[in-house]
Symmetry: C2
């Protein structure tokens, strides 16, 4: 079917080994034969069989990527960055979507682990022990989560949160509601802690509603709860929740950015489609993705040597748009 080394070899009157070397280890073979082989190979449309190669090398030149929800606009930029970086390094990417189903996460990762050299898990919600065990079986890099004994790329929410709280305070807010993400989510913990610290420091009262799934629908539900409270400023676990909140509040006749302020996290492309546009804490999604690939490939290179579990931390910052403003007098 496809052109094999043997056919190229026959056409050149050399052995398969020579052809193999000519194409992968150019300086090991006579310049003249090499160019001849290269020409014939190109002419015949030769492409190495990945199966044959990986059988002997033990590698697959493929990395796996597990995300909770491709439809969540936070992830596509990460996915794109992962693919781009992987492609640069001649790796293919297998993607699995768990559909926010925590139970499938580990199963999908295990399934993938048979056909990849390493794994990138984005925002996993599986129990720490299981993740550590997984990381012992093959190189794994976690995005948005720190795991014992494995590499990870995380964001530091503190700066962004501090800016967000200071922004609200400067507008006159003294009370903030946190619209929490999934209960067992690692990044929900991080964000909540960062927000609590920032509130403490600025003498702001912090309340909490939730948990909510990172979906627009959940945000709409959150809006109703929020509206019946006495708080005029909300910071949501992510943009989707924030957008759901905005959508629902607007629908109910409230003016977001005047009567109530909403801040999201992720600064996804969607932040700019609503009116008013969503004030959001920017997360460097693309960097998250490419850093994860770099870290993973590093681990692959070191192989069995020292796994050196590194954590890369990326900064966040507030992007102010129209969804935040001065609170009404009665809620200052």
């Amino acid at each position: 079917m496809a052109v094999t080394l043997a056919e190229v070899a026959a056409a050149c009157n050399v052995s398969t080994s020579t052809v193999s070397r000519a194409l992968t280890d150019p300086e090991k073979v006579n310049a003249e034969t090499r160019t001849r082989i290269e020409r014939v190979a190109r002419q015949l449309g030769y492409a190495p069989s990945r199966a044959g190669r990986s059988l002997v090398s033990g590698r697959t030149d493929t990395v796996g990527l597990v995300v909770p929800d491709i439809a969540n606009p936070f992830f596509p930029p990460i996915i794109k960055a992962v693919q781009a970086r992987a492609r640069d390094k001649r790796y293919a990417v297998l993607i699995a979507d768990t559909d926010e189903h925590v139970a499938d996460e580990l199963e999908l990762a295990r399934g993938l682990s048979r056909q990849v050299d390493g794994l990138i898990l984005a925002s996993p919600r599986t129990a720490p022990a299981d993740l550590t065990r997984l990381a012992q079986q093959l190189p794994v890099v976690f995005v948005n989560r720190e795991v014992e004994g494995a590499g990870s790329v995380v964001i530091d929410e503190n700066e962004g949160m501090r800016e967000a709280v200071e922004h609200l305070v400067s507008l006159g807010h003294r009370r903030i509601t946190y619209l929490a993400g999934p209960r067992r989510s690692w990044s929900n913990q991080q964000r909540r802690d960062a927000l609590a610290a920032a509130c403490e420091q600025n003498d702001v009262e912090l309340r909490e509603l939730g948990p909510f799934e990172p979906q627009i629908q959940a945000g709409m539900r959150a809006a109703d709860l929020l509206q019946s409270s006495e708080v005029a400023a909300a910071i949501a676990y992510d943009d989707l929740i924030a957008l759901g909140v905005m959508s629902r509040l607007t629908e109910r006749g409230l003016q977001v950015g005047r009567e109530i302020s909403v801040i999201g996290i992720d600064d996804s492309p969607l932040s700019t489609v609503t009116h008013p546009m969503l004030t959001s804490i920017h997360v460097p999604a693309a960097e998250l993705g490419s850093a994860a690939v770099d870290l993973l490939l590093e681990q692959l290179r070191e192989a069995e040597a020292t796994p050196t579990p590194t954590t890369v931390k990326l900064e966040t910052r507030l992007v102010i748009r129209g969804s935040t403003g001065i609170p009404p007098d009665n809620l200052r």
Copy 2:
């Protein structure tokens, strides 16, 4: 490293062939030995090597999926459906994103073609001849595009467009502007034709602006052009353009749904986050994805026999929300 057939065989005192048969062709081996082998295999955590298997079978049990832009909310539902259906059938999915870069499309597809059994190309913009040639080299199914000699899954925009035009007419509109998609896009042609036919039938004047890339930014640009025209109703090539239009118009103080009506196509999840919510022509994205997989696997089964290039056509319908309304008196 990983557990192999040979190890299981040794542990069971049988040959590798027997183990292989026991696990893939159960009725070919004695019931007793089979259960013993199955037990040991599970115990040892045996998992077949995909490389070994595909070397002899010639298959990879993987399908490729090429999309123009993961970040475009139209595609995630398709991707999810493809993955889900493929997983059911024990296939893995390799995804490639062309970033709307037409030139990369074919290159990515070719690269993928070496490691997959078949390919699904979503909304390709490559020239027909190249696509036909690609389809001759391996099984390919096209989504949102009909290609000579290859299977495809497309949508029939006619019904949805008819409903959209009738909806606008019933509100009092006599003029509609089409915000065109990319010039060489097959589905742009389809949509434009369907719209033209519907306008003709309803005695509506049709104008056109564009072309625009399917991105929110482009929609914003479209909004300014639209606003300076004398038309109070627009149907956009897709939801992203429509959302960009709405966002920009709202920003400039116009009331979408009153002073101007906007209709999108795709009915993506985003349609409900804006205010007013976007009236959109619903496209069955999930069905598009699973139908594509079904069609592709069918082609794989038939193998070299008869490629039988089938076209599956899915229906569209209008979903009325808040972005459409009665036109102002001076623009009736």
